[in-house]
């Protein structure tokens, strides 16, 4: 170890971080179980009085694509932020630095592990969708864009989660904040029973700024290869990214100043 330059991503660190991710029972419940259960349940309820097979399929697919955004929210935003805060509270990053493991090494391996877990969660989610739901067959560009959008959303959730944990530094405070953000995103994203169209104007204005809204509201159009104006969706990513970036900047400034 001594004198040997440590690589940024190694199989031992990935294995360590992956165990860290899977060691949190909440990510299994909220990141895999709940999205599958909610997608099946909500779509069944939503189509119960619809007799047209094509409409049924469209509704099921809309619900399925929207609920899918819960996976990065639960695994990355909630799971990562809470674990990171727990580590900060215990002084684990400091201990790791004393062993020569720089923060960037931890963060990179953590990000890759989160990605692996999220990919596995999506595989299970799609399997459940194919087996238990009547879904529209996507066009190639639809599935690629869905993966890309989920990936970008996950990166932003990772940045936001890291910033919240670095600012709060305590498990309890971080848990409270990310739970509030999680439910706010669920409600505004239309995953809690109130669709974007039924929301009051103020809520609609806030919802428009969040990427989750577009997974629920519009992604069926992209999925099936319909014409779609991407500008509002891109703007929502820019807004969400800017908010996460500003929080991360504040957190890193506080760290530099030793607060």
């Amino acid at each position: 170890m001594n004198g040997k330059k440590r690589q940024i991503i190694t199989k031992y660190m990935i294995s360590y971080e992956f165990r860290n991710v899977t060691g949190n029972p909440f990510v299994h419940i909220f990141g895999i179980g709940m999205p599958i259960f909610m997608a099946i349940l909500i779509s069944r309820i939503a189509v119960s009085e619809v007799s047209d097979a094509a409409v049924t399929r469209t509704i099921s697919t809309t619900v399925f694509l929207g609920i899918g955004a819960m996976i990065p929210m639960a695994t990355v935003l909630m799971g990562y932020a809470v674990r990171q805060a727990q580590d900060f509270e215990k002084g684990i990053p400091e201990r790791m630095r004393l062993f020569g493991i720089r923060d960037c090494v931890t963060i990179c391996n953590r990000a890759v592990s989160e990605l692996i877990f999220m990919a596995a969660a999506f595989v299970l989610y799609f399997l459940a969708g194919i087996l238990f739901m009547d879904l529209e067959v996507p066009v190639f560009s639809g599935i690629v864009l869905y993966i890309l959008c989920i990936l970008f959303f996950s990166i932003l959730c990772f940045i936001l989660g890291h910033a919240i944990a670095a600012l709060a530094k305590r498990f309890s405070v971080t848990y409270c904040i990310v739970m509030m953000v999680y439910f706010a995103l669920m409600i505004l994203g239309g995953m809690m029973g109130i669709s974007y169209e039924s929301m009051p104007a103020a809520m609609q204005a806030a919802a428009k700024l969040l990427p989750v809204t577009y997974f629920n509201k519009d992604f069926i159009t992209i999925w099936t290869g319909g014409n779609y104006n991407f500008v509002p969706m891109v703007q929502s990513y820019l807004f969400f990214g800017a908010a996460a970036g500003i929080l991360l900047f504040i957190a890193s400034r506080r760290r530099v100043r030793g607060i």
Binding site: M1, N2, N24, R97
Partner: protein, 292 residues
């Protein structure tokens, strides 16, 4: 920086808010092969000194070293790890090797009798096991400079003794330099060859153990458990500063020493003779504030 000097500290000031936690004026040089015991009461600045070296606190002054940070291995007072997995995986991630593939790591695990703990989570380990877990990883680093900050604090007497015995034996034939912060002087008797004595954030003295003993205690010291009878018997003798339960009699010459011992034998009294006792060095150095 000279080749055998690993680290030098000079004109160092560390403040916590408005309080000066540590102030070092004269240079402290850590050379290759040094085994430095850092002693002082609570709040003396021992851990602050360690944290300054590691860059964990802001300081003013100069700390120069030819070592990179990964050439300084550190066992902090409190070491925490994740609880999501067995200690084996934490060890493998930190050390970047599989236990089964590293002979040296297997030897260390065996040496510290840690085999049964590898499958346990960190929170399930006892205090002694937790310390051994970090010690194994610190020793695996095989760094030119290793720092142990109160490695045995909070452990029971037997666990402490066994751990120190292992450490003494491990480092006996090695040339790595050590900085050991401890409140247990008997540990430092075995591990340290130099002492850094701190008090209220100031350096009282720094030097070789034997030299400091000669400086503050003389050639040898006879140490007795305190009693009224002994106090009466030696009332006309010069005494050194010592804890209240002891009487410390300096022996400037062999004749003086023989005289004291004869008197003790005549009265059938127990005593200890020392030429390196750290408690005596500390008490007397502190009493005269390093000026002698």
């Amino acid at each position: 920086m000279e080749n055998d000097i690993l680290l030098s500290v000079e004109n160092l000031t560390v403040c916590y808010g408005k309080d000066v936690a540590l102030q070092i004026e004269s240079p402290i040089l850590i050379e290759e092969g040094d085994r430095i015991g850092i002693i002082g009461s609570n709040g003396a600045g021992k851990s602050t000194f360690v944290k300054s070296i590691l860059g964990l606190v802001n300081y003013q002054g100069s700390i120069r070293t030819r070592l990179t940070m990964d050439q300084i291995a550190t066992h902090m007072q409190s070491n925490e790890y994740t609880d999501s997995m067995a200690t084996k995986y934490i060890m493998e991630a930190i050390l970047q090797t599989r236990i089964s593939r590293s002979q040296k790591l297997q030897e260390l695990i065996q040496y510290f009798e840690f085999e049964d703990c590898l499958r346990k989570k960190y929170s399930k380990l006892s205090g002694g096991q937790k310390q051994r877990f970090t010690i194994i990883m610190v020793m695996m680093q095989d760094a030119p400079l290793t720092i142990y900050d109160e490695v045995t604090s909070g452990l029971d007497f037997e666990t402490r003794q066994r751990l120190v015995e292992k450490m003494v034996s491990w480092y006996r034939d090695r040339d790595s330099s050590l900085c050991i912060v401890s409140h247990y002087y008997e540990e430092l008797e075995q591990l340290a060859n130099k002492l850094l004595i701190l008090d209220k954030g100031r350096v009282i003295d720094y030097g070789k153990k034997e030299e400091l003993f000669r400086k503050y205690c003389g050639r040898a010291v006879i140490i007795l458990n305190h009693s009224g009878e002994k106090e009466m018997l030696f009332q006309s003798y010069k005494k050194l500063a010592s804890p209240a339960h002891l009487i410390a009699l300096p022996c400037e010459t062999e004749e003086k020493e023989r005289e004291i011992i004869s008197l003790l034998l005549a009265h059938n009294m127990d005593y200890t003779r020392s030429t390196t006792d750290i408690e005596m060095i500390y008490s007397n150095a502190k009493k005269c504030g390093g000026q002698q």
